[in-house]
């Protein structure tokens, strides 16, 4: 699971008010190289939650993203490379996503998060 996916998921358990961002528990991370698409990154920069992305990438062991970012940084290739890597190339292979309010764990196995809710959570 890429961190872009993490950036768009939230916990939907009954009664939870703010289910985003899900905390990441890491057992295994894998990296897969993909070609960089500058236009796509510029579009995504407007849409991602930056704070959630830095925290997630740190949890995954990647610490190169700047604390604060603004759109002027998109002119820097170095910044784009880092953003690209964090968003699309680091995958959570084994571990869990954890609801920030209830602490309920959604396990991730073979890269696939199991977000299925129990009957009493719907």
């Amino acid at each position: 699971m890429r961190l872009l996916t993490h950036n768009m998921l939230s916990s939907n358990i009954k009664g939870v008010v703010n289910g985003f961002p899900l905390r990441i528990e890491v057992e295994k991370v894998v990296e897969k190289t993909v070609e960089m698409n500058g236009e796509f990154l510029k579009k995504m920069f407007e849409k991602v939650d930056w704070k959630a992305l830095i925290d997630a990438s740190r949890a995954m062991g990647y610490t190169e993203l700047p604390e604060e970012a603004d759109s002027s940084m998109l002119d820097s290739d170095e910044f784009l490379n880092r953003f690209h890597h964090a968003l699309l190339e680091i995958h959570l292979e084994e571990g869990a996503l954890v609801c920030p309010e209830t602490g309920r764990r959604f396990p991730v196995n073979k890269g696939i998060p199991n977000m299925l809710l129990h009957e009493d959570e719907v």
Partner: protein, 212 residues
């Protein structure tokens, strides 16, 4: 990529070895799936460089087609773990990087308008009445650009009315009518139901109009 080439690659994908009746598991064949995504890309530019979500991905055919046509990020969702396992093998064999999630499409929590396009062949609602419209309702909330979906031709007026009035779609158009072979794998299927008329729809969600 040429249409024939896309159809050929989709034809090589592994499909449900033991389809589960209650989940209405039947694959979109390579002929229909390739045309669905080819049209989305070449007539509407809804695929390449986009974030695409495949709702009820089964063994992954539609999401694989989107990735082959240059979608930047594909997120494929199904409730059934066995299907997801096959789907991820299918993606791996074509060296495609697709994210999979196990979830009930109707219960997943989303943040923000990140998904551009939703593609889906929803359960037609043979087992659970209205299932296809439930999928459509969610798809129109999640997508910011377009939703491609298949629905029985016999429900065309209902689909259009509901999409526009209840789900606030800003447009709902049938792109083409297709013959869909629902394989004879289900005992309860009467013969006449095996080959059914299905519409390929393109819906534009309400938010898109506001943002452009």
């Amino acid at each position: 990529m040429k249409l024939k080439q896309l159809e050929g690659l989709l034809g090589g994908l592994q499909q449900f070895p033991q389809p589960k009746e209650e989940l209405e598991q039947y694959p979109t064949g390579p002929h229909i799936a390739s045309r669905m995504l080819f049209t989305a890309e070449n007539s509407f530019e809804d695929v390449s460089n986009k974030v695409v979500a495949d709702f009820g991905c089964g063994c992954g055919t539609l999401g694989v087609a989107a990735a082959l046509l240059g979608a930047e990020h594909v997120l494929s969702i199904d409730i059934d773990p066995e299907s997801l396992e096959i789907a991820s093998v299918n993606a791996e064999e074509l060296e495609l990087d697709i994210d999979f999630i196990r979830s009930n499409v109707l219960e997943l929590g989303w943040r923000g308008p990140i998904v551009d396009t939703v593609i889906m062949n929803p359960p037609f609602g043979t087992r659970k009445k209205g299932a296809d419209m439930d999928f459509l309702s969610v798809a129109l909330k999640v997508a910011s650009q377009a939703v491609y979906s298949l629905h029985k031709t016999s429900t065309r007026d209902h689909v259009k009315r509901t999409a526009l009035r209840s789900f606030n779609a800003s447009s709902a158009e049938v792109i083409c009518e297709l013959r869909f072979d629902v394989p004879k794998m289900y005992k309860f299927h009467k013969k006449k139901e095996v080959d059914i008329a299905v519409d390929l729809w393109r819906f534009v969600p309400a938010s898109h109009q506001r943002s452009t």
